[in-house]
């Protein structure tokens, strides 16, 4: 079974800063593998342990995504491929899905693509579905469980208040929820092996991507402005008068704000 897992490197912070163009300032921020993507890797490793095969991890981003890929190798992935090229920079979800999709095509001959449901920073949950669309794959999203007989894949899908089982023939794309599994503690033997592996860096040309669809230029989403919503300081108004008058004023105020 050949499984491709897409992982995103995200900043490990609760507050982020933007530059004048509205791009995230990533320099100097500690980074981690997008948390749910670790569960995606785990799901792939478990399937591989059952059915044999290989797990290939890919990530698009600046040079530092190498460390995320290295960590995925430490968890036990067989191979990692890094997509780094200035031309990919500034991609929205569409351009990201396109670039990743081109890379997945290039790898070829796969049975499953697994991604996280959503990234911790962008939170759009669009990349998985868009890759499925681009690659013409059946999409099995929001997986809480995943099973396979080596030819088909079946998932337990989370749909708000209820769940259902759906299945598709290979090749297919699955997006996973964090509840799908407990990911393993990085095993020591894999750590030692991981640092002996080469991580090839693929640029736009290597994946036969068309320039017009890449990066900021290829992104249909145009960013107007990024801002942190202002948190207004609480204003206090002291009401005066007899208890009855004050009660009347409170009722009027609430009425004004359509609260009663």
């Amino acid at each position: 079974m050949k499984i491709i897992v897409t992982i995103k490197q995200v900043p490990n912070v609760t507050k982020v800063k933007w530059d004048a163009d509205g791009s995230l300032i990533r320099a100097g921020l500690p980074t981690i593998i997008n948390p749910v993507d670790k569960h995606a890797i785990e799901a792939a490793l478990e399937l591989k342990e059952k059915h044999g095969g290989e797990v290939i991890v890919i990530s698009m981003g600046p040079g530092q995504v190498e460390s995320a890929l290295r960590e995925a190798l430490c968890m036990g992935a067989d191979q990692a491929i890094q997509l780094t090229d200035r031309k990919f920079a500034g991609a929205d979800t569409w351009a990201t899905s396109y670039a990743l999709g081109c890379a997945i095509k290039k790898i070829g001959d796969y049975d499953l693509v697994i991604s996280g449901v959503e990234a911790m920073d962008g939170n759009t949950a669009q990349v998985g579905p868009q890759m499925a669309e681009f690659l013409g794959l059946p999409l099995l999203s929001y997986a809480l469980g995943i099973e396979s007989d080596g030819k088909k894949v079946q998932i337990q899908q989370k749909l708000g208040d209820f769940e259902r089982k759906i299945e598709a023939d290979f090749p297919a794309l699955v997006t996973v929820e964090k509840e799908i599994n407990e990911y393993r503690v990085t095993p020591m033997d894999k750590i030692l092996e991981a640092f002996e592996k080469e991580i090839p860096v693929w640029e736009a040309d290597d994946v036969d991507a068309e320039l017009v669809h890449l990066g900021l230029k290829g992104s249909p989403t145009k960013l107007r402005k990024v801002f942190s919503p202002k948190i207004e300081k609480g204003k206090v108004q002291m009401l005066e008068g007899t208890p009855e008058e004050i009660a009347r004023q409170v009722a009027d105020k609430l009425n004004e704000k359509f609260l009663i």
């Binding site: 960590e71 430490c74 407990e182 503690v185 095993p187 020591m188 750590i191 030692l192 991981a194 640092f195």
Partner: protein, 381 residues
């Protein structure tokens, strides 16, 4: 010496932290409730491939450095949990068997220690001594192709768990010779073996330390580790590594004690400001940090000698002599920082203080190590 951590070293630490955050709490909860290690503890270590660091791959090991092992152990130390003792024991006994054992012995006994199916033990201490091989009274009497073991070993870690132990015995076939101790690998579930209940210890909560009794226990000659008469050498070489690993764990304990004190000193308001701003306290914090940093460097220095294949007996003894009192002092200071709360089980520092106390009396006493360091100094040119 350059102690810059490599990307591999850093990943080992990261994995260790992850194990300590996600898995140790449930292990520790089990130990608090049952006063013993969880039966599947070694499975957990084996799954994370934490057994057999300095053991060749052909016997199920990782063929990596002791440096990586001590980095991992320091992370366990920070939790204050005792659960790393079996991790140390399986690692160090597997390495010891690889060093002294014949090919058959290695093939038979090392893989189960690395895959977690056997609990390791190393036993020297007896009711009458924990330091002097001349005083041993557990005897091995030759009988055809076997030896018959009789006697008692005291304070033995994991003695009552299934698996293999290296037991240092008085070899009666060597009676009258200057070196008469021999190391035997013994299946702890052999007929004739029984154990006491656990000792109630000051610290090391949940440890299974007990006495183990031998009543005509038959052990085949092939189970002799090293040569007859080399028993004490087997012990000394093992304990040199074990002391470093123990110290690495205690550096973690001290480091955590320092962090707990630092945290508390910013929370607790005394005289209208966080107590950490009082000079008396931030001086203490500074002292704690320096002490722990120095201890860590001592440990790194010794383990690098070990990994380089140099003689590290004295370096390891120096580690015990230097780090034991400092780490104990740091944990005591951390208790002091917390006032009365530090003396209650509500706060981790109390546990850290108690666990730090074991370093001076387990895996050779502090004084024995002063003797080793002092005698080496005296004899050196």
């Amino acid at each position: 010496m350059d102690f810059t951590l490599s990307p591999i070293n850093k990943m080992v630490i990261k994995a260790g932290k992850d194990f300590c955050e996600r898995i140790v709490p449930e292990i520790d909860a089990y130990m608090a409730e049952h006063g013993d290690y969880p039966p599947d503890l070694l499975e957990k270590y084996a799954k994370a491939r934490m057994l057999g660091f300095d053991v060749p791959k052909e016997y199920g090991g990782l063929a990596t450095t002791n440096f990586n092992l001590i980095l991992l152990i320091e992370e366990f130390g920070k939790t204050g949990s005792t659960c790393f003792l079996p991790l140390l024991m399986n690692n160090s006994v597997a390495e010891t068997i690889c060093h002294w054992g014949s090919e058959e012995v290695k093939k038979k006994f090392v893989p189960p220690l690395c895959d977690g199916s056997a609990w390791a033990t190393m036993a020297f201490t007896e009711p009458d001594t924990g330091s002097d091989p001349k005083m041993l009274t557990t005897t091995a009497t030759p009988d055809g192709d076997d030896f018959i073991i009789n006697g008692c070993k005291r304070f033995i870690s994991m003695a009552n768990k299934p698996g293999y132990g290296v037991f240092i015995c008085k070899d009666l076939s060597l009676a009258g010779q200057p070196h008469d101790s021999t190391a035997f690998i013994i299946d702890k579930k052999s007929p004739g073996i029984s154990c006491s209940g656990h000792y109630e210890l000051t610290g090391l909560d949940g440890a299974d330390t007990c006495d183990i009794y031998f009543n005509n226990v038959r052990v085949p000659k092939e189970n002799i580790l090293g040569k007859q008469g080399q028993g004490f050498n087997v012990l000394l070489r093992w304990i040199s590594g074990e002391r470093i690993q123990q110290a690495a764990g205690m550096v973690g304990v001290g480091h955590q004690a320092y962090l707990e004190a630092k945290k508390y000193s910013m929370q607790r308001i005394v005289n209208g400001m966080p107590m950490g701003y009082m000079q008396g306290f931030y001086w203490m914090l500074g002292e704690m940090k320096v002490k722990i940093d120095a201890c860590r460097l001592m440990v790194y220095n010794a383990v690098c000698k070990q990994d380089a294949g140099k003689n590290f007996d004295t370096a390891s003894a120096e580690v015990k002599v230097f780090t034991t009192p400092l780490i104990q002092e740091v944990t005591r200071m951390a208790v002091q920082f917390h006032g009365s709360y530090g003396y209650s089980k509500e706060y981790l520092v109390e546990k850290l203080f108690r666990i730090a106390m074991h370093q001076g009396v387990v895996a050779s006493s502090l004084e024995i190590n002063k003797t080793i360091v002092g005698m080496t100094a005296l004899m050196s040119k």
